[in-house]
Symmetry: C2
Subunit: 162 residues, 2 copies
Protein backbone atom coordinates (compact mmCIF):
# COMPACT_ATOMS: atom_id res chain seq x y z
CA UNK A 1 0.00 0.00 0.00
CA UNK A 2 2.81 2.35 0.85
CA UNK A 3 4.87 1.10 -2.02
CA UNK A 4 3.07 3.05 -4.67
CA UNK A 5 4.32 6.01 -6.56
CA UNK A 6 2.01 8.97 -6.32
CA UNK A 7 1.18 10.74 -9.51
CA UNK A 8 0.95 14.43 -9.83
CA UNK A 9 -0.15 16.48 -12.76
CA UNK A 10 -2.27 15.28 -15.63
CA UNK A 11 -0.97 11.78 -16.09
CA UNK A 12 -3.51 9.65 -17.83
CA UNK A 13 -3.15 5.96 -17.12
CA UNK A 14 -2.43 4.96 -20.69
CA UNK A 15 -0.58 7.87 -22.15
CA UNK A 16 2.76 7.76 -23.86
CA UNK A 17 4.53 7.96 -20.54
CA UNK A 18 3.77 4.38 -19.69
CA UNK A 19 5.08 2.29 -22.52
CA UNK A 20 6.27 4.05 -25.63
CA UNK A 21 8.66 6.58 -24.26
CA UNK A 22 9.20 4.93 -20.92
CA UNK A 23 12.87 4.61 -20.11
CA UNK A 24 12.35 1.33 -18.35
CA UNK A 25 10.92 -0.21 -21.50
CA UNK A 26 13.66 1.30 -23.62
CA UNK A 27 16.34 0.05 -21.29
CA UNK A 28 14.80 -3.40 -21.33
CA UNK A 29 14.88 -3.38 -25.10
CA UNK A 30 18.64 -3.10 -24.88
CA UNK A 31 19.33 -5.46 -22.00
CA UNK A 32 16.35 -7.74 -22.30
CA UNK A 33 18.16 -11.04 -21.91
CA UNK A 34 19.64 -12.88 -19.03
CA UNK A 35 22.81 -13.51 -21.00
CA UNK A 36 23.39 -9.81 -21.59
CA UNK A 37 23.25 -9.02 -17.89
CA UNK A 38 25.47 -11.96 -17.01
CA UNK A 39 28.05 -10.81 -19.53
CA UNK A 40 27.87 -7.35 -18.06
CA UNK A 41 28.36 -8.78 -14.61
CA UNK A 42 31.52 -10.46 -15.80
CA UNK A 43 32.69 -7.26 -17.43
CA UNK A 44 32.40 -5.54 -14.07
CA UNK A 45 34.26 -8.43 -12.52
CA UNK A 46 37.06 -7.75 -14.95
CA UNK A 47 36.52 -10.15 -17.83
CA UNK A 48 37.83 -8.87 -21.15
CA UNK A 49 38.25 -11.87 -23.41
CA UNK A 50 35.75 -14.03 -25.23
CA UNK A 51 36.68 -17.10 -23.33
CA UNK A 52 36.33 -15.47 -19.97
CA UNK A 53 32.85 -14.28 -20.73
CA UNK A 54 31.70 -17.67 -21.99
CA UNK A 55 33.17 -19.69 -19.14
CA UNK A 56 32.38 -17.39 -16.25
CA UNK A 57 28.87 -16.54 -17.34
CA UNK A 58 28.33 -20.18 -18.27
CA UNK A 59 27.06 -19.35 -21.70
CA UNK A 60 27.55 -21.31 -24.87
CA UNK A 61 29.91 -19.91 -27.47
CA UNK A 62 27.23 -18.87 -29.95
CA UNK A 63 25.22 -17.02 -27.33
CA UNK A 64 28.34 -15.35 -26.03
CA UNK A 65 29.28 -14.24 -29.52
CA UNK A 66 25.78 -12.93 -30.26
CA UNK A 67 25.54 -11.03 -27.02
CA UNK A 68 29.01 -9.50 -27.22
CA UNK A 69 28.27 -8.30 -30.72
CA UNK A 70 24.98 -6.75 -29.68
CA UNK A 71 26.47 -5.11 -26.63
CA UNK A 72 29.19 -3.61 -28.79
CA UNK A 73 26.59 -2.44 -31.32
CA UNK A 74 24.66 -0.80 -28.52
CA UNK A 75 27.72 1.01 -27.28
CA UNK A 76 27.85 -0.80 -23.97
CA UNK A 77 31.07 -2.64 -24.65
CA UNK A 78 33.85 -1.69 -27.01
CA UNK A 79 36.29 -3.93 -28.79
CA UNK A 80 39.89 -3.03 -28.60
CA UNK A 81 42.67 -4.82 -30.38
CA UNK A 82 45.81 -5.36 -28.38
CA UNK A 83 48.98 -7.27 -28.88
CA UNK A 84 51.30 -8.75 -26.37
CA UNK A 85 54.90 -8.94 -27.45
CA UNK A 86 55.44 -12.07 -29.48
CA UNK A 87 51.76 -12.82 -29.70
CA UNK A 88 49.33 -12.11 -32.46
CA UNK A 89 46.71 -9.43 -32.22
CA UNK A 90 43.75 -10.18 -29.98
CA UNK A 91 40.54 -8.48 -29.11
CA UNK A 92 39.42 -7.36 -25.73
CA UNK A 93 36.04 -6.10 -24.65
CA UNK A 94 35.77 -3.23 -22.27
CA UNK A 95 32.92 -1.35 -20.71
CA UNK A 96 32.19 2.03 -22.19
CA UNK A 97 30.91 4.83 -20.00
CA UNK A 98 27.42 3.91 -21.12
CA UNK A 99 28.04 0.34 -20.06
CA UNK A 100 29.67 1.26 -16.79
CA UNK A 101 26.62 3.22 -15.77
CA UNK A 102 24.60 0.04 -15.72
CA UNK A 103 26.37 -0.91 -12.52
CA UNK A 104 23.59 0.33 -10.23
CA UNK A 105 21.17 -1.97 -12.05
CA UNK A 106 23.41 -4.94 -11.44
CA UNK A 107 24.02 -4.03 -7.83
CA UNK A 108 20.33 -3.51 -7.19
CA UNK A 109 19.60 -6.92 -8.67
CA UNK A 110 22.34 -8.54 -6.64
CA UNK A 111 21.14 -6.92 -3.46
CA UNK A 112 17.58 -8.09 -4.04
CA UNK A 113 18.77 -11.60 -4.80
CA UNK A 114 20.91 -11.57 -1.67
CA UNK A 115 17.98 -10.62 0.45
CA UNK A 116 15.24 -12.76 -1.04
CA UNK A 117 16.78 -15.68 -2.87
CA UNK A 118 19.78 -16.69 -0.83
CA UNK A 119 19.19 -19.03 2.06
CA UNK A 120 22.75 -19.15 3.25
CA UNK A 121 23.47 -15.46 2.93
CA UNK A 122 25.14 -13.55 0.12
CA UNK A 123 27.91 -15.50 -1.60
CA UNK A 124 29.95 -12.39 -2.25
CA UNK A 125 29.86 -8.86 -1.01
CA UNK A 126 30.68 -5.49 -2.46
CA UNK A 127 32.63 -3.19 -0.24
CA UNK A 128 33.91 0.33 -0.50
CA UNK A 129 37.58 0.08 -1.26
CA UNK A 130 38.42 3.23 0.63
CA UNK A 131 36.74 2.36 3.89
CA UNK A 132 35.74 -1.28 3.70
CA UNK A 133 32.06 -0.72 4.43
CA UNK A 134 29.43 -2.65 2.56
CA UNK A 135 27.86 -1.15 -0.52
CA UNK A 136 24.16 -0.94 -1.29
CA UNK A 137 22.09 0.49 -4.09
CA UNK A 138 19.62 2.94 -2.68
CA UNK A 139 17.27 5.70 -3.65
CA UNK A 140 18.20 9.21 -2.69
CA UNK A 141 16.88 12.59 -3.61
CA UNK A 142 19.13 15.42 -4.64
CA UNK A 143 18.95 16.88 -1.18
CA UNK A 144 20.35 13.58 -0.01
CA UNK A 145 17.31 12.31 1.82
CA UNK A 146 16.94 8.59 1.89
CA UNK A 147 13.72 7.64 0.17
CA UNK A 148 11.29 5.49 2.08
CA UNK A 149 8.35 3.63 0.67
CA UNK A 150 5.53 5.80 -0.50
CA UNK A 151 7.64 8.94 -0.50
CA UNK A 152 7.90 9.03 -4.26
CA UNK A 153 5.94 11.26 -6.57
CA UNK A 154 5.82 10.98 -10.31
CA UNK A 155 5.66 14.05 -12.49
CA UNK A 156 5.67 14.53 -16.19
CA UNK A 157 8.58 16.64 -17.22
CA UNK A 158 8.19 19.79 -19.21
CA UNK A 159 10.80 18.56 -21.66
CA UNK A 160 8.73 15.61 -22.77
CA UNK A 161 7.21 15.54 -26.22
CA UNK A 162 8.45 18.00 -28.74
Amino acid sequence: MTSEIHMTGALEPRGSWTADRCSVAKALDVVRTRSALLILREAFYGATRFDEFAKRAQLSDPVTADRLRELVDDGILEREPYREPGQRTRQMYRLTEKGAELLPVLVALMQWGDRWLQDAGPPVQLTHEDCGARITAQLRCERDHEIGEGEIALARTSLART
Copy 2:
Protein backbone atom coordinates in the same frame (compact mmCIF):
# COMPACT_ATOMS: atom_id res chain seq x y z
CA MET B 1 39.43 0.72 -16.87
CA THR B 2 38.23 2.33 -13.70
CA SER B 3 34.89 0.63 -13.93
CA GLU B 4 36.08 -2.69 -12.70
CA ILE B 5 35.43 -4.29 -9.40
CA HIS B 6 38.57 -5.29 -7.59
CA MET B 7 38.69 -8.73 -6.15
CA THR B 8 40.16 -9.57 -2.83
CA GLY B 9 40.71 -12.92 -1.25
CA ALA B 10 40.89 -16.21 -3.04
CA LEU B 11 38.29 -15.73 -5.72
CA GLU B 12 38.93 -18.07 -8.56
CA PRO B 13 37.53 -16.87 -11.87
CA ARG B 14 35.12 -19.73 -12.32
CA GLY B 15 34.07 -20.71 -8.86
CA SER B 16 30.55 -20.96 -7.57
CA TRP B 17 30.44 -17.25 -6.87
CA THR B 18 30.14 -16.41 -10.50
CA ALA B 19 27.15 -18.25 -11.78
CA ASP B 20 25.56 -20.85 -9.58
CA ARG B 21 25.09 -19.00 -6.38
CA CYS B 22 25.33 -15.53 -7.83
CA SER B 23 22.45 -13.37 -6.72
CA VAL B 24 22.33 -11.56 -10.02
CA ALA B 25 21.73 -14.82 -11.85
CA LYS B 26 19.16 -15.92 -9.30
CA ALA B 27 17.35 -12.64 -9.49
CA LEU B 28 17.34 -12.84 -13.26
CA ASP B 29 15.80 -16.29 -13.05
CA VAL B 30 12.84 -14.70 -11.33
CA VAL B 31 12.49 -11.50 -13.35
CA ARG B 32 14.04 -12.56 -16.60
CA THR B 33 11.40 -11.22 -18.93
CA ARG B 34 10.57 -7.82 -20.19
CA SER B 35 6.90 -8.36 -19.44
CA ALA B 36 7.59 -9.12 -15.78
CA LEU B 37 9.45 -5.85 -15.31
CA LEU B 38 6.83 -3.87 -17.16
CA ILE B 39 4.10 -5.33 -14.98
CA LEU B 40 6.15 -4.47 -11.94
CA ARG B 41 6.55 -0.95 -13.21
CA GLU B 42 2.79 -0.64 -13.45
CA ALA B 43 2.39 -2.08 -9.98
CA PHE B 44 4.61 0.70 -8.68
CA TYR B 45 2.58 3.17 -10.67
CA GLY B 46 -0.47 1.94 -8.81
CA ALA B 47 -2.06 -0.64 -11.10
CA THR B 48 -3.96 -3.33 -9.25
CA ARG B 49 -6.36 -4.91 -11.73
CA PHE B 50 -5.79 -7.31 -14.59
CA ASP B 51 -7.00 -4.85 -17.12
CA GLU B 52 -4.76 -2.06 -15.95
CA PHE B 53 -1.70 -4.23 -16.20
CA ALA B 54 -2.53 -5.43 -19.68
CA LYS B 55 -3.40 -2.03 -21.11
CA ARG B 56 -0.73 0.05 -19.46
CA ALA B 57 2.12 -2.37 -20.02
CA GLN B 58 0.79 -3.01 -23.52
CA LEU B 59 0.81 -6.74 -23.09
CA SER B 60 -1.61 -9.25 -24.51
CA ASP B 61 -4.06 -10.91 -22.16
CA PRO B 62 -2.40 -14.32 -22.14
CA VAL B 63 1.02 -12.90 -21.39
CA THR B 64 -0.43 -10.69 -18.70
CA ALA B 65 -2.14 -13.66 -17.11
CA ASP B 66 0.99 -15.81 -17.27
CA ARG B 67 3.19 -13.16 -15.81
CA LEU B 68 0.80 -12.20 -13.02
CA ARG B 69 0.51 -15.84 -12.02
CA GLU B 70 4.25 -16.29 -11.97
CA LEU B 71 4.81 -13.11 -10.01
CA VAL B 72 2.25 -14.26 -7.46
CA ASP B 73 3.89 -17.68 -7.30
CA ASP B 74 7.23 -16.03 -6.69
CA GLY B 75 5.80 -13.93 -3.88
CA ILE B 76 6.33 -10.64 -5.64
CA LEU B 77 2.67 -9.83 -6.04
CA GLU B 78 -0.23 -11.06 -3.96
CA ARG B 79 -3.83 -11.48 -4.96
CA GLU B 80 -6.41 -10.06 -2.71
CA PRO B 81 -10.12 -10.42 -3.17
CA TYR B 82 -12.14 -7.35 -2.46
CA ARG B 83 -15.73 -6.35 -2.90
CA GLU B 84 -17.20 -2.96 -3.40
CA PRO B 85 -20.70 -2.54 -2.07
CA GLY B 86 -23.19 -3.77 -4.62
CA GLN B 87 -20.48 -5.30 -6.79
CA ARG B 88 -19.31 -8.85 -7.03
CA THR B 89 -16.00 -9.96 -5.66
CA ARG B 90 -12.93 -8.92 -7.60
CA GLN B 91 -9.25 -9.58 -7.42
CA MET B 92 -6.53 -7.09 -6.99
CA TYR B 93 -2.80 -7.53 -7.24
CA ARG B 94 -0.54 -5.80 -4.82
CA LEU B 95 3.16 -5.68 -4.30
CA THR B 96 4.47 -7.71 -1.42
CA GLU B 97 7.45 -6.49 0.53
CA LYS B 98 9.60 -8.73 -1.62
CA GLY B 99 8.13 -7.10 -4.71
CA ALA B 100 8.38 -3.59 -3.37
CA GLU B 101 12.09 -4.04 -2.82
CA LEU B 102 12.61 -4.39 -6.55
CA LEU B 103 12.01 -0.66 -6.87
CA PRO B 104 15.72 0.24 -6.92
CA VAL B 105 16.16 -2.08 -9.89
CA LEU B 106 13.39 -0.33 -11.78
CA VAL B 107 14.63 3.12 -10.87
CA ALA B 108 18.17 2.25 -11.86
CA LEU B 109 16.92 1.01 -15.22
CA MET B 110 14.81 4.10 -15.72
CA GLN B 111 17.69 6.36 -14.85
CA TRP B 112 20.00 4.63 -17.28
CA GLY B 113 17.38 4.78 -20.01
CA ASP B 114 16.82 8.46 -19.28
CA ARG B 115 20.47 9.20 -19.67
CA TRP B 116 21.38 7.05 -22.64
CA LEU B 117 18.27 6.29 -24.62
CA GLN B 118 16.17 9.41 -24.46
CA ASP B 119 16.91 12.10 -26.96
CA ALA B 120 14.33 14.54 -25.74
CA GLY B 121 15.01 14.11 -22.05
CA PRO B 122 13.21 11.95 -19.53
CA PRO B 123 9.46 11.61 -20.16
CA VAL B 124 8.67 11.43 -16.46
CA GLN B 125 10.56 12.15 -13.31
CA LEU B 126 10.57 10.73 -9.83
CA THR B 127 10.67 13.24 -7.04
CA HIS B 128 10.83 13.06 -3.29
CA GLU B 129 7.35 13.77 -2.06
CA ASP B 130 8.55 15.48 1.09
CA CYS B 131 10.92 17.94 -0.52
CA GLY B 132 10.32 17.83 -4.25
CA ALA B 133 13.89 17.05 -5.21
CA ARG B 134 14.66 14.55 -7.93
CA ILE B 135 15.34 10.95 -7.02
CA THR B 136 18.22 8.84 -8.25
CA ALA B 137 19.40 5.32 -7.63
CA GLN B 138 22.95 5.41 -6.39
CA LEU B 139 25.59 3.31 -4.75
CA ARG B 140 26.51 4.11 -1.20
CA CYS B 141 28.52 2.39 1.44
CA GLU B 142 27.28 1.96 4.96
CA ARG B 143 29.35 4.91 6.09
CA ASP B 144 27.39 6.88 3.54
CA HIS B 145 30.18 7.58 1.11
CA GLU B 146 29.11 7.90 -2.47
CA ILE B 147 30.81 5.24 -4.52
CA GLY B 148 32.78 6.32 -7.53
CA GLU B 149 33.99 4.14 -10.33
CA GLY B 150 36.72 1.74 -9.36
CA GLU B 151 36.12 2.16 -5.66
CA ILE B 152 34.46 -1.19 -5.32
CA ALA B 153 36.04 -4.31 -3.93
CA LEU B 154 34.58 -7.77 -4.05
CA ALA B 155 35.03 -10.20 -1.21
CA ARG B 156 33.72 -13.66 -0.59
CA THR B 157 31.71 -13.72 2.54
CA SER B 158 32.42 -16.08 5.38
CA LEU B 159 28.81 -17.20 5.32
CA ALA B 160 29.02 -18.63 1.85
CA ARG B 161 28.99 -22.37 1.32
CA THR B 162 27.96 -24.52 4.19
